[in-house]
């Protein structure tokens, strides 16, 4: 009932932990059963280890948080040697989120990790780094170019993660599809800012950061809906999902699977609650599977 498929990869349920909000799984494994997830998208990795941005990196705003982690991570070698073997013990699909500062790095990363995981998620949307990330991801030509090169060398299906910080996200979705992406995931965080009026300073050291959480959900649902009209590859939807009702919205808008991010900080049990909620919803509305919901909005 809950099983979905993305380019031949079967997820036992459509819930994936969103990159950057779930570490390498290890941290949460002491608290919840990682087998509950259909998949886990690991913290974004780069070729070399990366220290990330200065503090403060986090602030809270109405309905969400702004972060500027800046891709702190131990680098691909440590990921492969120290983190992957642990994650492989669980019955869940592993999605490696990769981040290059230029095209060559994306290719190199894809070569190294794609034979070792179920899927890779090419993050062309990180708002918190100066080069690469969102800077590439805003330009459909660069999205096309990088996706194409990564596809050439990748041993597993390739998901391209898109940024919402553009006028028309469907242009990016179409570029990814044309270049051979197996799926797209959206949305990454929304570029945002908050100011402390007492000190008159920005609440984030880098001045701007990425907004996630319930505040961005309506934007994300709209973007999934728009992309669903324009591309034929599966869409993985995310942005502000806090409960099963939010998840159902994404399926109806056109998502085949969903990712949950910020909610993990608030309610580490969210995955099991959302899973049960989806199941009950399907039964109550007479649907046989999640697939029946995808894009099934009535306009």
């Amino acid at each position: 009932m809950l099983e979905v498929e993305i380019s031949g990869v079967k997820l036992k349920n459509p819930i994936i932990a969103a990159s950057g909000t779930f570490g390498f799984g290890r941290e949460f494994s002491k608290l919840i059963d990682l087998n509950l997830f259909g998949g886990i998208s690991t913290k974004g990795i780069t070729l070399k280890k990366c220290a990330g941005n200065p503090q403060p990196r986090l602030c809270e705003v109405y309905g969400g948080i702004i972060n500027s982690i800046g891709l702190e991570n131990p680098g691909v070698e440590a990921f492969v040697n120290d983190e992957l073997p642990f994650l492989k013990k669980f019955n869940t699909k592993i999605i490696a989120n990769i981040n290059g500062f230029n095209k060559e790095e994306f290719i190199e990363l894809a070569k190294i990790v794609s034979p070792l995981v179920d899927m890779i998620e090419v993050n062309l949307s990180c708002p918190n780094i100066k080069e690469g990330g969102m800077a590439f991801g805003k330009d459909p030509n660069r999205v096309y170019e990088i996706t194409k090169e990564v596809k050439k060398v990748s041993a597993c299906p390739v998901i391209v993660k898109l940024t919402p910080n553009v006028t028309d996200i469907t242009e990016l979705a179409k570029a990814a599809e044309k270049a051979g992406a197996d799926a797209i995931s959206l949305i990454n965080t929304v570029s945002a800012m908050a100011i402390d009026i007492e000190t008159r300073r920005p609440l984030i050291k880098m001045v701007t950061g990425g907004l996630s959480g319930p505040a961005i959900k309506p934007i994300a649902v709209r973007m999934v809906y728009e992309c669903f009209q324009k591309v034929n590859i599966p869409i993985i939807g995310m942005g502000g999902i806090m409960n099963y009702k939010d998840a159902i919205e994404f399926f109806l808008a056109g998502a085949t699977a969903i990712q949950i991010g910020t909610v993990n900080f608030v309610n580490p049990n969210a995955v099991s609650e959302i899973r049960k909620g989806i199941e009950n919803y399907l039964k109550a509305h007479g649907f046989k599977s999640v697939k029946d919901l995808v894009g099934n909005i009535i306009i």
Binding site: G20, F28, R57, Y62, G63
Partner: protein, 254 residues
């Protein structure tokens, strides 16, 4: 570490804007070590505040857990309005703990403001281990004082200072500590307080080990989100929630 729904036993004001909250939890009371903290969801299904809030466990008594906190923003304001019998969701115990040992000589404990909260149980355990303890506490003003009787009982000497001089020494608690270093002949120091205070403490280049409990904005509390990173001495990233909150003061950039 566990996720627990607990029922508030008591939540009362103990000083100006300072509250002491307690609840029963056999699990937390048995696993807790001084320095540990918990992540409290002050309101379920809330949009603002959205995240959990981190608070040190001040002390435990039998199966009761006590958390002292200061009202500073929306989250702590909501928490202060909770009544006996209300339920809150608690994630813990989190983080590492202070080193407890019998030190051959005196121990100094230096606390400022809300940083004083985690130091009470530390003093309990240090005393139980057979140590002599000098305690230095800094408050803003006389009306902000809390836990003073408790610290008096556990310490050999208690030095109080206030910013406005309304009680005790006028000025910074680290200043007071500095004047006692020589005669105190300390073997180790423990501290928690605002960053400027800890920077001052670090600048003293103490001739003995000094362990500090740090604060950083946190989202997950368990090492997954990398929001609370600080730099270690060697440039490596450390996470206040999972590598700390207690660090050797010389091993971290403050």
């Amino acid at each position: 570490m566990k996720l627990l729904d607990v029922e508030i036993a008591e939540n009362k004001m103990i000083a100006n804007g300072i509250y002491l909250l307690s609840f029963e939890s056999d699990y937390l009371a048995n696993t807790f070590k001084p320095g540990n903290f918990v992540n409290i969801l002050v309101e379920k299904d809330s949009i603002y505040p959205l995240l959990r809030r981190p608070f040190s466990i001040s002390f435990v008594k039998e199966n009761k857990v006590f958390i002292g906190y200061k009202v500073v923003g929306k989250g702590t304001q909501i928490l202060s309005q909770k009544k006996k019998g209300d339920s809150i969701n608690v994630l813990g115990p989190l983080g590492n703990s202070f080193l407890i040992d019998k030190f051959n000589g005196k121990v100094a404990v230096v606390g400022g403001g809300v940083g004083i909260f985690p130091l009470l149980s530390l003093c309990h355990e240090l005393k139980k281990a057979g140590n002599k303890i000098d305690v230095f506490l800094g408050f803003r003003s006389r009306s902000d004082l809390f836990f003073v009787e408790e610290f008096k009982e556990l310490s050999d000497n208690l030095f109080i200072s206030t910013d406005d001089g309304s009680i005790g020494y006028k000025g910074n608690t680290v200043e007071v500590f500095k004047t006692k270093i020589e005669e105190g002949n300390y073997k180790v120091a423990f501290s928690c307080g605002p960053k400027p205070m800890l920077r001052f403490l670090k600048s003293l280049n103490l001739p003995f080990k000094c362990y500090v409990s740090l604060e950083e904005k946190m989202a997950c509390g368990i090492g997954a989100c990398l929001c609370c990173s600080i730099k270690g001495k060697d440039g490596n990233m450390l996470h206040v929630c999972s590598d700390g909150p207690v660090f050797d003061i010389m091993e971290v950039e403050i």
